[in-house]
C-alpha cells in the first residue's frame, strides 16, 4: 500500500493530510490507490489486533531521536500546565486581590520569575493556567474530529456509490471555506464556552480524516478477509467496526497527532483575534493578544514566553506525527 500522495511533497510537512489529488480529480486518486494496494492478507482478519499495529509502530518510533525529544517536550508541557500550579501556586482568577500583592506589568524579577501581566497576574502561573485550556481544547477537539471524521469516512467509503458522492461533496464544500471565517461565524452564533469551542473547532477539522479514512476504506473493503466476513454473513456495521476501522488505526493515530497541533493553533488564532476561551479562564492565544496590546511599551515578557510555548507544543506534535507516519510506512513495507 502506498499513500495517495506518495510521490508528492516532502513528508515532513503535513501534506499527508492535504492529499494533493491527481490533477484529473479525486476519482483517479482512489483507483490508483486501489490499484497499488497489495492483496496480501494480514494475519487472520479480526485477530489483527490494535496492539500489534501500534506496538510495531512504537518500535520504529523510538529509533527517531527528534520524535522522542518531542514526546518529552509534550509530557513536560502537560506536567507544567496541570501539575505545575500545585507546586507553584498563584492567584489567576481574582484580579482585585492580585493587585494587592503585586502590581501590573512588573518585569521579571524576585517573586515573579516571568514578571506580571497587565492585570497583575503572575506570568509564569498564567502560562500554566492558559496552557490548561489550550491543551484541553486541543486534545478534545482533535479527538472529537478524529472520531467523527473516521466514522464519516468509513461509511462513505464502505457504502460507495451515490452516498459516497454526496458525502464527499459535502466535504469538498466545507474544505473550500477558509477555515477561520467559518470558525468565527460559528463562534459568533454559538457563544463561546470551553465546551462549545471544542465542538466548533472539531466541526471545522473532521474533513481531512474523513477523506483519509474513506481512501483507506476503499482499499480495505476489497481485501479477502473483508470479503470472507461478508460471505460468512457478517453485518456491515461489524465489518466497519471490527475490521475496517481497526485496520486503519495507524492512519487515524497519525492524523489525530497532527490534528492536536492544528487545534491548538486554531484556538490560539481565535484567542489572538479576541474570541478565545472566555474570562476568567484564558488561553495562550488570548494571552499573546493581551501582550501585543502592550508591545509598544516594551513588555517583552508578556509576549515571548507565550509565543515560545505555542511554537514548542505545535512543533513537538508535528514531529511526533511525522515520526508516527514514518513508522507506519515502515510497518507497511515490512508486511
Amino acid at each position: 500500500m502506498t499513500e495517495p500522495d506518495g510521490e508528492g511533497p516532502d513528508p515532513v510537512f503535513n501534506d499527508y493530510e492535504r492529499e494533493v489529488p491527481l490533477p484529473i480529480g479525486d476519482g483517479e486518486t482512489i483507483s490508483e490507490r486501489e490499484f497499488l494496494g497489495e492483496d496480501t492478507v494480514p494475519e487472520g482478519g479480526e485477530s489483527t489486533s490494535t496492539g500489534g499495529i501500534l506496538r510495531q509502530m512504537g518500535r520504529v518510533f523510538v529509533e527517531n531521536k527528534l520524535a522522542v525529544v518531542s514526546v518529552g517536550v509534550i509530557v513536560f508541557m502537560v506536567l507544567f500546565c496541570f501539575v505545575g500550579p500545585h507546586l507553584y501556586t498563584t492567584n489567576q482568577t481574582n484580579s482585585q486581590l492580585v493587585l494587592q500583592d503585586s502590581s501590573a506589568n512588573l518585569p521579571p524579577g524576585h517573586g515573579n520569575p516571568l514578571g506580571t501581566d497587565g492585570n497583575g497576574f503572575d506570568m509564569l502561573g498564567r502560562l500554566m493556567f492558559g496552557g490548561q485550556a489550550s491543551l484541553i481544547v486541543g486534545f478534545a477537539s482533535a479527538l472529537v474530529a478524529t472520531v467523527f471524521g473516521t466514522l464519516y469516512g468509513a461509511i462513505s467509503g464502505f457504502f460507495g456509490n451515490w452516498l459516497d458522492s454526496i458525502l464527499m461533496r459535502v466535504v469538498d464544500v466545507f474544505l473550500s471555506i477558509p477555515v477561520l471565517f467559518l470558525l468565527i461565524a460559528l463562534v459568533t452564533i454559538y457563544h463561546q464556552s470551553e465546551v462549545l469551542l471544542i465542538v466548533v473547532i472539531a466541526f471545522v477539522s473532521w474533513l481531512i480524516p474523513a477523506r483519509l479514512i474513506r481512501g483507506e476504506t476503499l482499499s480495505l473493503r476489497n481485501r479477502e478477509y473483508v470479503q470472507a466476513v461478508r460471505v460468512m454473513g457478517g453485518s456491515r456495521s461489524r465489518i466497519i467496526g471490527r475490521h475496517i476501522i481497526p485496520n486503519s488505526i495507524g492512519t487515524i493515530v497519525v492524523f489525530a497527532t497532527f490534528q492536536v497541533a492544528d487545534s491548538i493553533l486554531l484556538l490560539a488564532a481565535l484567542g489572538f483575534v479576541g474570541l478565545g476561551v472566555p474570562a476568567p479562564q484564558t488561553d495562550w492565544g488570548t494571552m499573546l493578544s493581551n501582550g501585543v496590546d502592550a508591545a509598544g511599551n516594551g513588555y517583552w515578557w508578556q509576549i515571548y514566553p507565550t509565543g515560545i510555548c505555542i511554537v514548542l507544543v505545535v512543533v513537538a506534535f508535528n514531529y511526533v506525527g511525522d515520526a508516527l507516519r514514518d513508522s507506519l510506512e515502515v510497518r507497511l513495507q515490512q508486511r
Binding site: 511533497p9 461565524a185 459568533t188 488564532a269
Partner: protein, 318 residues
C-alpha cells in the same frame, strides 16, 4: 480540455451552492431564532411574529431558501446588518478589493521567491545552502502567522521604525502601488508561510521531474545541464505547483484574516472579527459567503491555468 473545464466549473458551482446552503442554515439555527438575535432578549412575541412576517421567516423553509438564493443572485442581496444599519453588501463595499490585494500580492511574492528557492535547492542539493533553506522553511512553516506578524511589528515598526504598524485606514486598495511601504509587513507575514510550503513543494516536484524518463531522453540527446533544468524539469515541475496553489488558497485567505487583525488592515477578515464582537451575525455570514466564493473562483482560475499549462490535459480529452 473542454470536459475537464466543464467538470471543474460544475464542481465550483456545487461548492458555491453548498456554501450558500451552509450560511442559510447557520442563520436559521441561531439559538432563539434570528428575530431574537436582532430584536434583543426582551423582545415580545408580537414583535418577533411581526419581524418574522416582514422578513418572510414564517414561510416554509424551502420558500425561504429560494428567496435567499434569489436575493443573492438577482439582487446581490447578502442580508441586512442591523448594527451598521445598511445592507451587508454595502458594509463589505471596499473591503473585498483590499483583501484581494493583500492575498494577490502575497501569493505573487510567494511564487516569485519560492520557485527560485526550490530550483536552487535542487541544483545545490545536499549542499549547505540546501540545508539552510530547508531549515528556514521549517522555521517559517512552524511559526504561527499571528506570532510572526507580531514579532515583525515589534522589531521593524516599534524598534527600528522602518515601516508603519498598519496601512492608513482610508487608503484604497490601489495604495499598494502608490504607498507600498505600509504594505510590506502584512504582505511579508502572509507570504512567509506560503513561501515555506511552496518552496518545499517546488523542491520535491523538481526532484521528481529530474527522475523522469524525459530528462534522461533529453540528456541522451545531448541537452546541457541548463537546458535540462529550465527547458524540461522546471516547466514540468511548475504544473503541480499550480494545483497546490489552488488547494492552498483557502488556507492563505484564512491567514489573511489573521494578518488583517494583526496589522489592523481594513479588509474582509478584520470586518468579520469586528462583526463577531458586535454580534452582527448577518455581516459575519455575508463576509464568509463572499470570501468563500472569491476563494472558489481563485482556485478555479488556478485550475484553468493548470489545464492550459499542461499539454496532457490541453490536448487530451480528459
Amino acid at each position: 480540455m473542454t470536459r475537464f473545464l466543464v467538470r471543474r466549473f460544475a464542481q465550483a458551482l456545487i461548492v458555491i451552492v453548498g456554501v450558500i446552503l451552509i450560511t442559510f442554515f447557520l442563520a436559521r439555527l441561531i439559538p432563539g431564532g434570528e428575530a431574537k438575535a436582532v430584536l434583543g432578549a426582551k423582545s415580545t412575541t408580537a414583535g418577533i411574529n411581526r419581524f418574522n412576517r416582514l422578513n418572510g421567516l414564517d414561510q416554509p423553509l424551502y420558500v425561504q431558501f429560494w428567496q435567499y438564493i434569489e436575493g443573492i443572485f438577482a439582487h446581490l442581496n447578502l442580508g441586512y446588518s442591523y448594527k451598521y444599519n445598511q445592507g451587508v453588501r454595502q458594509v463589505i463595499g471596499e473591503r473585498l478589493p483590499k483583501t484581494l490585494t493583500l492575498v494577490g500580492a502575497s501569493v505573487l511574492i510567494a511564487l516569485v521567491i519560492a520557485i527560485p528557492l526550490g530550483i536552487l535547492q535542487v541544483v545545490r542539493r545536499n549542499k549547505p545552502i540546501d540545508y539552510v533553506v530547508t531549515g528556514g522553511s521549517f522555521f517559517f512553516y512552524a511559526m504561527p502567522d499571528f506570532l510572526f506578524g507580531t514579532l515583525l511589528i515589534i522589531w521593524f515598526a516599534f524598534d527600528l521604525h522602518w515601516f508603519p504598524v498598519s496601512p492608513p485606514s482610508d487608503a484604497s486598495a490601489w495604495a499598494v502601488f502608490t504607498d507600498p511601504r505600509a504594505f510590506v509587513l502584512p504582505v511579508v507575514t502572509l507570504a512567509a508561510t506560503t513561501i515555506a510550503s511552496f518552496s518545499r513543494y517546488m523542491r520535491s516536484s523538481m526532484m521528481d521531474a529530474m527522475a523522469e524518463d524525459y530528462i534522461r531522453t533529453a540528456r541522451a540527446k545531448g541537452a546541457g545541464n541548463h537546458r535540462v533544468l529550465y527547458g524540461h524539469a522546471l516547466r514540468n515541475a511548475l504544473i503541480p505547483l499550480l494545483t497546490l496553489l489552488g488547494l492552498s488558497l483557502p488556507a492563505i485567505v484564512s491567514g489573511a484574516l489573521i494578518v488583517e487583525t494583526v496589522f489592523n488592515y481594513p479588509g474582509m477578515g478584520l470586518l468579520t472579527v469586528q462583526s463577531a464582537f458586535n454580534d452582527d451575525i448577518p455581516t459575519v455570514l455575508g463576509t464568509t459567503l463572499v470570501i468563500t466564493v472569491a476563494t472558489v473562483i481563485g482556485s478555479l482560475l488556478a485550475d484553468i491555468l493548470y489545464a492550459v499549462a499542461d499539454p496532457r490535459i490541453r490536448l487530451g480529452g480528459e
